[in-house]
Symmetry: C2
Subunit: 281 residues, 2 copies
């Protein structure tokens, strides 16, 4: 996989990490960064995440959109206008269902969805990391309308950055991520909201880890929760059912029911193994 | 603070860490370990967490009970029988309300409650760490019936192991810990229980951190949930109210309400800072 010009739209933690990884691994000859703020693009250039900063999308062989999910559609339309025919266009958003409607409207670019399961509650190019995708999973999404060659090239791109790749349909992706990512975010945020300031000193590692993702950027997560609304409501209801089982067992002081619920949960969690990456905070 | 004989009942992650810290810092001349399993006491001896293993409580100047909370009362009675008059007796349990009833029944030992806010989802002396209490908080609990000198000595012990100390009443402790520790455990376990095996690969760092504590030992946590039942039910209800606010905002696709809830949660979580200790898993 060797790209001549890679254009990254939105050079924050993820976009910056793509730039650093692409340059470190020789995946792209040059990396252009696009963003609204000249100062943060300049910082990205100084950190080596991009070669040149631009305020508008430039022609490229591969354009990766790394902006909040609720802006991807518009950025994709703008990128399409600036594209050479056949340009590869992908994004890194956490929701995929609505974005695939792009396939109906793009005129030059060939769109494939991507979702690298990597990141952090941190944001900004200062936290970008050339090894962010190393040994992590990237979901690549396609529909019957997606160009098959484009899917292969986008998969090859993520593999070249060190990632494993799994191909899914966008609806299937959104249904699963509602449980594995969006639900935990809502739960962590609701849990954080229960903490009183005077109890802060009593919140140890358990509370801190359970709520860590609640530090994520609200402007990114708002779009995710809105775009994957139906699947997240389903996940919330299933979670509430599980929580109600615990409440019932505790209220009844039912030791064997509590033990059974805790043991089942431990089995699921143990099967996941330790966290996939070194702690980033 | 210099103890002649320190006896640790239950030499697992916490008990073993107390032994290692006490020996490393010269807090005790000798450390005795008490437990049901000769093999694990021998392992504790090999790791340097204790000097000598015993199957029954031995006379000591300070006895620290590090067994599950639902066994502490009985172990305390046994320790009392083996004690010299005035022996200091404390425990490290996560619930304190019921344990303080000990003050009514002990005949020789002077009881003070302790709860070091340190630990891990891991268990066993293999994970013991001489620096586990360094710069962490230990809550020491007292009631009007508690011996004031004994409180001072137990506080001095924890400070000698590197810990900060905060004195609280047992009821106040249990009400706060229901929110900062017991609720997160139940929430993490209920969340883990929503994960389907086929989605495991899609559970990244966010899911893993949010559910980490669900790997904790069910036999320890069952006792905690039973002993702090009323306060945990209150915490669960407050959490459910916060979660219902999120559900309502998502269902209504109310962007500004979602943004407000996420921003409030982020503010609370950011105020806690990063996790207090290096990741242990």
């Amino acid at each position: 996989m060797k790209i001549d010009t890679l254009t990254i739209v939105g050079v924050g933690l993820i976009g910056g990490s793509i730039g650093l990884a692409a340059k470190k691994r020789g995946v792209a000859r040059r990396v252009l960064g696009v963003g609204r703020h000249a100062a943060s693009l300049e910082r990205a250039r100084q950190l080596g995440a991009i070669d040149e900063p631009f305020m508008d999308v430039q022609a490229a062989d591969l354009i990766v959109l790394c902006t909040p999910v609720d802006t991807i559609f518009d950025h994709a339309l703008a990128a399409d206008i600036a594209s050479k025919p056949g340009t590869l266009l992908t994004d890194v958003g956490s929701t995929k269902g609505m974005v695939h409607d792009l396939e109906l409207v793009l005129r030059r670019a060939r769109y494939v969805g991507s979702h690298p399961l990597a990141g952090s509650e941190k944001s900004g190019v200062e936290f970008a990391d050339a090894n962010l995708f190393q040994d992590r999973l990237t979901v690549v999404t396609q529909t019957p309308a997606t160009n098959v060659d484009a899917v292969e090239q986008v998969c090859a791109f993520w593999r070249a950055l060190g990632s494993r790749v799994r191909i899914m349909g966008p609806v299937e992706h959104d249904a699963a991520l509602a449980f594995t990512s969006h639900l935990p975010h809502v739960v962590a945020a609701a849990l954080a909201a229960t903490l009183w300031a005077e109890d802060r000193e009593l919140a140890a590692t358990g509370f801190r880890d359970t709520t860590r993702v609640a530090s994520g950027d609200p402007s990114i997560w708002k779009g995710i929760l809105l775009q994957n609304r139906a699947a997240i409501l389903t996940a919330l209801d299933q979670f509430s059912d599980r929580l109600a089982e615990f409440r019932k067992a505790i209220e009844a002081s039912d030791a064997s029911a509590i033990d059974e619920l805790l043991t089942k949960a431990k089995k699921v969690r143990d099967a996941l193994g330790a966290s996939a990456s070194p702690r980033r905070d």
